[in-house]
Symmetry: C2
Subunit: 367 residues, 2 copies
């Protein structure tokens, strides 16, 4: 029988940890007292079981819980439901990691393009990928267009919308913004010979996102961005199914839950089909440590059955000056996303963008 193996950090004293792990196993599988269950199928395939429990530091334990693969079926939402549904509300419990049987990996599929697809699209074989964001929300389409042009001429690879730019402003409608910005990157790419891609931010409910995706397809947009934790992983996965270009996962709203970042960004978002995974970089304004960031980047690229590697995209408070350090940390199979720090250059936006691009090229050549 195939089992899903999930690992949880449990705060407990030694005497109680077995009972607490058992409570999670019951909560996340049958969620009822075991005594009245007499169905042989349920007893064998549905009730989760507790595996190895190892002590960590300071009243913390790591417990493995094994779930029947049938409990998930081929429903990505149900995978999250089984792994961390109700137990997300238990005190002192965090999910650390998961191992999935090959049959489930084959059904869920993961990134459709991944690192290789993004490299091929850009025609960039070895160096790290450069990316930036259009900001601030509330700007007119014309203003974003000016920024886009300067950054494209600076030689960047990917220009994405800020995730706060949805379809809320009459002066910056998705239906006008996306064709205008796509024309801009196409024109600059043709003129300079350097391929620049624009990645619009999809928003609203899934039905609206699918309509936006249709417009992107009509305009020849070659990459899109969407927020898996805000829209729900099953809906992100449904979007991936309909999307024929690489998709970037934005981390907004991800921090509201007790899921280890290495697991969430390194494995689960890859599993639901993100080709590039934006996460908040160490040493910036967010809370992930260097160790967490390198672990999640490694996880996003590690061999994993049939699941293609996803491109790690560190972001958040990064500067051009940090490029050598960041590339030493993450290596070349990385997309560096620098937004605000480029925009700070104001009228020198094109030059600052070019410094970013040159720095990545120089570091990659030296590596």
């Amino acid at each position: 029988m195939q089992r899903i193996q999930a690992y949880y950090r449990i705060e407990s004293d030694a005497a109680d940890v077995e009972r607490k792990a058992q409570a999670i196993a019951v909560e996340q599988s049958v969620e009822m007292p075991l005594a009245p269950i007499d169905d042989a199928y349920v007893l064998e395939n549905v009730i989760a079981s507790v595996g190895e429990i190892v002590a960590l530091n300071h009243g913390q334990f790591k417990a493995r819980i094994d779930y029947g693969v049938d409990t998930v079926g081929d429903d990505v939402g149900q995978l999250f439901n089984v792994l961390f549904g109700n137990c997300s509300m238990l005190p002192g419990v965090e999910i650390l990691d998961v191992e999935l049987p090959p049959a489930l990996l084959a059904r869920l599929r993961g990134p459709r393009h991944g690192i290789n697809g993004i490299r091929k699209l850009l025609g960039v074989e070895r160096r790290a990928i450069t990316a930036t964001a259009l900001k601030p929300q509330g700007s007119t389409t014309d203003k974003l267009l000016q920024l886009c042009q300067a950054m494209a001429e600076g030689g960047i690879d990917i220009i994405k919308d800020d995730h706060g730019i949805v379809d809320q402003y009459p002066h910056c409608r998705f239906a006008e913004r996306v064709p205008a910005l796509q024309r801009c990157v196409r024109e600059v790419s043709a003129r300079t010979g350097h391929k620049v891609i624009y990645a619009p931010n999809l928003s609203g409910d899934l039905l609206n996102m699918l309509k936006q995706l249709e417009l992107c397809r009509d305009e020849g947009v070659e990459m899109v961005m969407a927020p898996p934790m805000l829209m729900g992983p099953a809906n992100f996965n449904a979007l991936v199914e309909q999307c024929d270009v690489p998709i970037l996962a934005h981390p907004t709203f991800a921090g509201a839950r007790r899921i280890a970042p290495e697991l969430l960004f390194g494995k689960l978002l890859r599993l639901v089909g993100a080709d590039g995974i934006i996460f908040t970089n160490y040493g910036g304004r967010f809370s992930y440590s260097l160790a967490q960031c390198t672990a999640l980047a490694a996880a996003s690229r590690a061999p994993w059955g049939n699941i293609a590697p996803a491109m790690p995209v560190p972001a958040g408070g990064m500067t051009v000056e940090r490029v050598p350090e960041l590339l030493a940390t993450y290596g070349a199979d990385t997309m560096l996303l620098i937004g605000g720090s480029l925009l700070e250059a104001g009228p020198r936006l094109r030059d600052r963008t070019q410094s970013f691009v040159d720095s990545v090229a120089a570091c990659s050549a030296g590596g």
Copy 2:
């Protein structure tokens, strides 16, 4: 100018808190350095501002941040994005509460049925509502049918699917289960004269849920359940738009360590249209306190512009013996949801259900 007022708990020393609050205001609005921003519209309507900051205990502060209402538009997902998108990943930050201007409330609408709609549907004017869950997942449709019949004959008001029952088992397909269970509650209601409602659990991505909703409509199902935090609030809201019966919000994946439960369950889920809001009760196996539970129940029923009151639905490790205490705590505008503790009765399921029903009736008569 109308502003959205959001309140955050910030861990800080006194010297730093103003700077940290300002960082959240920037992060959640323009997410870039302010210096290069020269657009008058953005300066006036988009950049968030810091309001009052008050000291709480032990290096904790409560800060108000005011957001321009234009930044949200009429997009429910964007509301969550603005309130707790990136700052969900900042260390030591929790969102506590929000006040929304009337124009935004009018656009978002909230519950379509709410407490009054649920009471009318059941024909129950004053007493508390009784509810239970079909479990465990993995059972055949026939087994669930037997449980449903016993609980319906015991006189319960609402029988919902366990949230772990999706469409993963060939022996318990949604398309077979829902018509069979709906026929059961209709038959028992007709025979006994006591109205019983079956609420199926919708699952998968939004497109699949909308298909399931269609089937429910065809079968005359009078209530459904869906998980807003697993499917994303914008997608839950889209489901509400298409749903002509009351909808219960299941708390799975809510894991709201850094969203105050009073805000998440008491206000935000009501805002996106949940008619009944299931939450994990105090004194059970989850982590919410009595004070949090009573505060969230009060919030779900409090007057709030044009937003109808939603029915609070405490659940999780509750027993029939606790009914008097629970009703003394929550009052009659409450749906008590007892699942596992009824199912523990095995062959005496019908009688245990009837004890639950009788206890609610007795307490309500005495009240």
